[in-house]
Symmetry: C3
Subunit: 137 residues, 3 copies
């Protein structure tokens, strides 16, 4: 078994910018030359998340409205140093997650027909970093 590791840098455009990073992760899997194993994705941030979902903007519209209902911007938060967008971003990250473990077979990501890998910015336009680790043979 061997390991390959590479940083993926993501420039986000602002809050609720959903970015499909599947192709970029697949490129790194290919560079690893690892045929069969697992790929781990680790976001280095508390106000951005990483998850698997269909690439359909209507789902992200629903997620946006859902979070505005359960974590409305117009209420008082304790973590208010950087505003309510930041306060709610922290909580959204813990609900959606900041890491993934996905299978690799024949040097390709194994995903369901409608599954894609997304990085979502909850806060401001930022330069974000995800560490990609592939372990296998």
């Amino acid at each position: 078994m061997k390991m390959y590791r590479e940083w993926l840098k993501i420039r986000t455009k602002g809050p609720l910018n959903f970015i499909d990073i599947t192709e970029k992760v697949q490129e790194i899997v290919e560079k690893s030359k690892i045929s069969n194993g697992m790929v781990f994705l680790n976001s280095m941030h508390n106000t951005a998340a990483i998850f698997v979902q269909e690439n359909d903007p209507t789902i992200f519209e629903d997620m946006k409205e859902f979070f505005e209902r359960i974590l409305p911007l117009n209420r008082k938060y304790h973590h208010d140093y950087e505003g309510n967008l930041n306060a709610t971003a922290h909580l959204k990250t813990n609900l959606i997650g900041c890491f993934l473990a996905l299978p690799v077979e024949k040097n390709k990501l194994v995903l369901g027909t409608w599954q894609r890998i997304f990085f979502v910015e909850w806060f401001e336009p930022r330069e974000r970093k995800v560490l990609i680790t592939i372990v296998g043979d």
Copy 2:
């Protein structure tokens, strides 16, 4: 270190069908002959989830009512091509998760006393697939 991989097929009965897959995962761990390592579970679906919980129907009743409160079926969703059950299923999956990484020791799953592995269908009766990967010695 070696790797063993097998597909687990799950026939679901409809929305909110919580299926205890612990024994099936344990059988695959045994077939792997891997004594110590990790087992990864990856669901290939955006409208079904996989998670660890006690096998107690009252918890699933509470989860059902909780999701009906925060993601009610009788409101307007943007992702409405396949109805509101489908729209809310997408969001529930991101809240609960579609993968697990669990320890294996002495060729057995290491779980807490009350922990079991569940697959939950949020949408329709379907043939679902989970890829099980065991890595270790």
Copy 3:
């Protein structure tokens, strides 16, 4: 590739006790002598969670109020054998998670500038257990 495994015991003080376990996990990573790989954390409990977040009490105050809004203690739950704190604890665990997969490089945890590893008790003061597994070279 090799593997190192150790139990981390955590004595919690009661509900909403957020415990920063980053240093303890780092100590176990060092004992493993594994330079590059992944560390897996598995909580053995259904009423306590494990997650990555900034070490800032105001975020935990927000999380507490958020959960009291979406999972209020003063309503009827089906899983009522051990009270509503227990019933809601089960659901909070599935929303926040009970495992992590994090990268290790040069025998150190790779975390973002503001990322720390937290164990949170949702229920009673308890002796809790997290299995730490490090895999790598």
